[in-house]
Amino acid sequence: MFKKILVPIDLQHADKLEKAISVGVHVAKPDGIPLVFTAVTSNAPSALAHTPDEFKSKLSAYAASEAEKHGIEATGHAVFSHDPATDLEDALLKAVKETGADLVVMATHIPNVADHFWPSNGGKIASHADVSVFLVR
């Protein structure tokens, strides 16, 4: 049904994303669809990595370990943004284009009052992506 599935993750909080990841795996596994774990970061050093290269290799390592754990094909795709706090959606939409994914599976929070001011990232992706989007709450 799909050719490639994009799963945006926050490497620092990957533990909180189990539900979304298992949905992604669930869709991918029966048909052997490749999964792409995408993470957005800035070029500046962060808690996870001191350089962009280090970030890329950590993401690839994460993807490899998930692939082995679930018996699927998975890769990592890092996107670097000047200002990830505000440009997350644009970066993810760019990742959709770059990877050629045709399904995005991502975690999103239950809407609250703040969503009136700042729509959730998942909500924005769903409104702007031209591929299918599966939001997991």
Binding site: T41, S42, N43, A44, P45, S46, A47, H50, T51, D53, E54, K58, H82, D83, P84, A85, T86, D87, N112, V113, A114, W118
Partner: protein
């Protein structure tokens, strides 16, 4: 370090960077929590201590007007009068270090590692560093300072071209004009930009090449070692937040008064608290939209718009002013600057105390107190440039732009003052001193004054916005322990806080007092910057070239 670092004292051949080995993990001291619907990710204790100290200082200043104001004014005056030599010599050190980096092989090092590519093109990059660095000052001082130095300051003892009755003394004119320009360009040329370049380069190097967090304290790693992550580092970061927020808030308050004066001059808008508060709210709101849109969608776009409007105004002044003499004036002023930069940089054996203390040392302290903010912002947008390219673009090009700007605005104003004793500039700078109207006075004696004055007011406002939004980003990053991706609510908090402090000080009095205090932080930061020079050279030597 928590992972496989590359640095074993030998640079990696393809050398992405030569990382510093430290056990500190960025964000390890941060508190991640939720406040109502908003996520927070703040450094403990920098965020809280900075916020509370700023609030406390604002309250104390409002409560004890008569004690606090004179104290900080006296402190600032004492520093710039007695330690003028220290500021001026330190400024010279920064210029020499920067110029040396251009010509030595250390200039080959690339910020962000050997293979890093620039994040921004030249125009966007330059627009951002200029708009954050000095834009607003050029608006305010472009007319005032050249005329003032020519007529009153007598730098290096060069006499005024006016006698006691205000008549022009022809034989003094040429020398006074040249010195007025040279002294102004001196304050807006290589020295201020060298101050910014030192901070920016130190931060960029230690962050993008060495992997340390993008925050002031990282510069100290070669000196403090692991203690950088404890209280010595907290103090540096808190002081940086303090200087930046009060610097921005007091400028915003004064800026609102200037914009109000301009609106009154052009459109007859009444001068008063109401108009000024509305201006602060307006500027803060645009800055909020800008930080919410982010670095690329907000700050960069506004800075570029700003550059275009400023360039149009500059072209207009050159065309409408005494064009031929401005064009030849550019070369003459550059020559005057080159000739006088050495004597002006020497703090010893001079008689011009009021100029040296009141202007030069004040400026140096002022630029230095701004440098954590401007330097950190420049660092953030400069990844991917080589050190040589970085210094040329942060030091040389802005200096040339300053020369062009001062030549056009100051040259036109000098021409008006010297040829027409009834000119508006004569009125506002010489006859009845109203510095906030000097720019509008100059424009009003040129054609299409109502249009250009309106553009000038817009430009003043946009320059404030571009300082305010980049300042909020910087404070947010410092108070998030060097994280550039902290939740957006925090930027909103700092941007709003700055506007509120400005309004409180405007209504309650105390803008001058806290500006004097912000400028006084220039003294400790001068020591910080001198140490940063050492850190830069040491850090660059370890990098693959």
């Amino acid at each position: 370090m928590s992972d496989n670092a590359t640095n074993q004292g030998i640079p990696d051949p393809e050398g992405a960077a030569s990382l510093i080995e430290t056990d500190y993990e960025i964000g390890q001291d941060n508190i991640e929590t939720k406040l109502g619907p908003f996520d927070l990710d703040i450094h403990n204790p920098v965020f809280l201590v900075s916020g509370l100290t700023i609030a406390a200082f604002t309250f104390l200043t409002l409560a004890f007007q008569n004690e606090v104001g004179p104290f900080f004014d006296a402190l600032r005056t004492w520093l710039t009068s007695n330690l003028d030599w220290f500021f001026i010599l330190a400024g010279n050190v920064f210029v020499i270090v920067c110029l040396a980096l251009i010509v030595t092989p250390l200039g080959n090092v690339r910020i962000g590692g050997k293979d890093a590519e620039p994040d921004y093109n030249y125009f966007g990059w330059f627009a951002m560093l200029f708009a954050a660095g000095m834009g607003i000052g050029l608006m305010f001082f472009g007319v005032l300072e050249p005329v003032y130095h020519m007529a009153f300051s007598e730098p290096m003892g060069v006499p005024s071209p006016f006698d006691a009755d205000g008549n022009v003394i022809e034989e003094n004119v040429a020398a006074a004009k040249a010195m007025g320009m040279a002294a102004t360009i001196f304050h807006w040329g290589l020295h201020p930009w060298a101050i910014y370049a030192v901070v920016a380069l130190a931060l960029a190097l230690f962050s993008f090449n060495k992997g340390l967090p993008l925050t002031m304290r990282s510069v100290f790693y070669p000196i403090f070692g692991e203690k950088t992550w404890g209280w010595p580092g907290h103090v540096v970061d808190i002081l940086a937040v303090f200087a930046t927020l009060f610097g921005l808030a007091t400028s915003l308050g004064f800026g609102a008064q200037q914009a109000n004066a301009g609106l009154n001059f052009v459109f007859g808008v009444p001068i008063g608290n109401m108009a000024q508060i509305l201006l602060i709210i307006g500027i803060t709101t645009i800055a909020l939209i800008s930080v919410l849109r982010g670095l690329d969608g907000g700050v960069k776009v506004l800075s570029e718009i700003n550059m275009v409007i400023a360039a149009l105004l500059l072209i207009f002044v050159i065309a409408a002013g005494p064009t031929a003499s401005l064009v030849s004036g550019f070369v003459e002023n550059l020559g005057a600057y080159a000739k006088d930069i050495v004597p002006l940089s020497n703090p010893f054996g001079r008689e011009d105390d009021s100029f040296r203390h009141g202007w030069t040392a004040f400026y140096w302290a002022w630029w230095i107190s701004w440098s954590p903010f401007v330097g950190m912002f420049i660092a953030r947008v400069s990844r991917g440039r080589s050190v040589r390219e970085f210094i040329i673009c942060v030091l040389i090009i802005p200096t040339i732009v300053s020369v062009i700007w001062m030549t056009a605005f100051g040259g036109t104003a000098m021409d008006q003052v010297l040829t027409n004793p009834d000119s508006q500039v004569h009125k506002y700078v010489i006859a009845s001193y109203s510095p906030e109207l000097s720019l509008f006075g100059m424009l009003s004696d040129l054609p299409m004054a109502s249009i250009t004055s309106f553009i000038a007011i817009i430009l003043v406002i946009v320059f404030f916005v571009t300082s305010s939004d980049s300042g909020s980003l910087v404070i947010d990053t410092i108070t998030a322990g060097g994280k550039v991706d902290a939740p957006v609510a925090q930027r909103v908090f700092w941007c709003t806080f700055e506007g509120l402090v400005a309004i409180a000080l405007l209504l309650g009095g105390g803008l001058g007092a806290l500006q004097a205090m912000a400028v006084s932080t220039g003294f400790p930061f001068t020591i910080v910057l001198l140490l940063a020079c050492y850190a830069i050279i040491k850090g660059l030597m370890e990098e693959p070239r």
